[in-house]
């Protein structure tokens, strides 16, 4: 057995799963609303029950999203020349042959962007959702919230599946981070050389 490096702590892993499950519930119930899908409503125990699930899953989602700021925000706001190089080669995802990606830190450029987009869209979708849910007697505000909620929703249904694909099939060996939190040291040296240097491994 090779030496393992801890990439994610237990609280980070648990929080990620809370966020993932609530997000998927929100997306499923969201489609249920959008197209009046009777089957989806039935799955959640009826019309009103599904609304309650959606609203409270929304609360859980935004709380767990805020909690991720302790884990990723600082990293996601740090950029240097290697990030530019990474963008230019598309992270190495756009060609069949192996390419050497520029050295990355704990998160690569794409992950940092993804994080910021989800953070922003998450705040927007939660704020508009709360407005539809709780604010009464303001037609214009409800109309804007409804529009914004759905715009952010479109962003989510594109970004979240891509994120899930990149975290599993597209990058064998990464998914275990969200289960055990650890990766083999050689893997880490290849994927996150700058971070490894930082922590002296």
């Amino acid at each position: 057995m090779s030496e393992m490096v801890r990439k994610a702590g237990n609280e980070e892993i648990i929080n990620h799963w809370i966020m993932a499950v609530s997000c998927i519930l929100l997306i499923i119930t969201g489609y249920g609303f959008l197209f009046q899908l009777k089957g989806v409503y039935a799955l959640f125990g009826g019309n009103y029950a599904m609304k309650v699930v959606h609203n409270w899953a929304g609360v859980v989602f935004i709380v767990s999203l805020f909690a991720t700021m302790f884990n990723y925000l600082r990293e996601a706001l740090t950029y240097d020349a290697d990030d530019w190089a990474w963008i230019k080669m598309g992270g190495g995802y756009l060609s069949k042959s192996a390419k050497k990606a520029p050295p990355m830190g704990k998160l690569n450029t794409g992950q940092k962007f993804y994080y910021l987009v989800i953070l922003a869209a998450g705040i927007v979708i939660a704020a508009s959702g709360f407005s539809i849910w709780q604010v009464q007697g303001n037609r214009a505000l409800t109309q804007v919230s409804h529009l914004v909620h759905n715009l952010a929703f479109i962003l989510f249904v594109v970004a979240v599946p891509v994120h899930a694909y990149l975290g599993t099939l597209a990058n064998p060996g990464t998914f275990r981070i969200m289960v055990y939190g650890t990766v083999p040291i050689e893997f880490a040296r290849k994927k996150y050389p700058k971070w490894m240097k930082e922590i002296g491994k």
Partner: protein
């Protein structure tokens, strides 16, 4: 659009013959078992000031100047229009909460309503209200009475014929014969189920010249809804395609052979 059959029923409102007795308001409350409500006198005879969860219909008392008199009183019935292309039905996320009766009315089922209040944002006439449980409340054209072969409580009560219920086509033909050139609601929003024989411009009676479903709702319906499906489908298809055509990521330290 959705329900333009010859069977469509309507209420024809003729403000000119309304005497403002408010029998219609009372009859509606009696039939639908809606309690009374304390209101404030704000210097007008209009009461209640606007539609309420316990007031499905009301008479609007508009005071406008005329040539012969400083005040001309216009009594106009206000209630759900039972639009053929109904903004409330378009935006409602809950199946069965709003439904179209065979007479063409837009009725509701409180048990299916989730109380999201989106229909308020979708209605061009600011009609839907919410009861104390947060469920929709509005005129439903007494579809329960219609099912028993009766007419709505309000039209049944009206002593002057200011509110008349009947076949929509017939009511329109009769109003035109009586000299009303344009019938408000004849073609708007696919045809309203509450139509008006106005003598003057609709604005005078408190109605927009051209009522429209809010732009945001139309955009959401025509653009965002399809995009939500295309977006998810595209993302899943893109991931699959990438997996098949390019395959998992490789960033070996080994020599790069081809470019």
């Amino acid at each position: 659009m959705t329900n333009r059959t010859n069977k469509r029923k309507a209420i024809l409102v003729t403000p000119e013959v309304c005497i403002g007795c408010r029998g219609c308001q009372t009859a509606c409350k009696a039939w639908n078992q809606l309690p009374g409500m304390k209101t404030k006198n704000t210097g007008t005879m209009q009461n209640p000031p606007d539609l309420e969860p316990v007031d499905y219909n009301m008479i609007r008392y508009s005071e406008v100047p005329s040539e012969t008199n400083p005040v001309r009183w216009l009594f106009v019935s206000r209630r759900c229009m039972h639009c053929d292309d109904a903004g409330c039905m378009r935006i409602c996320p809950a199946p069965g909460a709003l439904f179209r009766t065979k007479e063409g009315a837009v009725a509701f089922d409180k048990d299916k309503c989730i109380g999201c209040k989106l229909c308020v944002a979708g209605c061009p006439f600011d009609v839907p209200r919410y009861d104390k449980d947060g469920k929709i409340a509005k005129c439903h054209l007494c579809y329960d009475r219609l099912a028993e072969g009766m007419q709505p409580a309000c039209t049944k009560t009206c002593p002057t014929g200011a509110l008349r219920f009947g076949d929509r086509d017939q009511l329109i033909a009769q109003a035109k014969q009586a000299g009303y050139g344009k019938i408000y609601g004849e073609a708007d929003l696919g045809g309203l189920g509450t139509i008006f024989a106005f003598k003057d411009a609709p604005k005078l009676y408190g109605y927009a010249d051209k009522p429209n479903i809010p732009e945001s709702v139309i955009f959401w319906h025509n653009v965002l809804k399809p995009l939500a499906v295309i977006g998810l489908g595209g993302a899943l298809a893109g991931a699959l395609l990438h997996y098949v055509a390019i395959g998992p990521h490789k960033d070996d330290d080994e020599e790069v052979k081809k470019s």
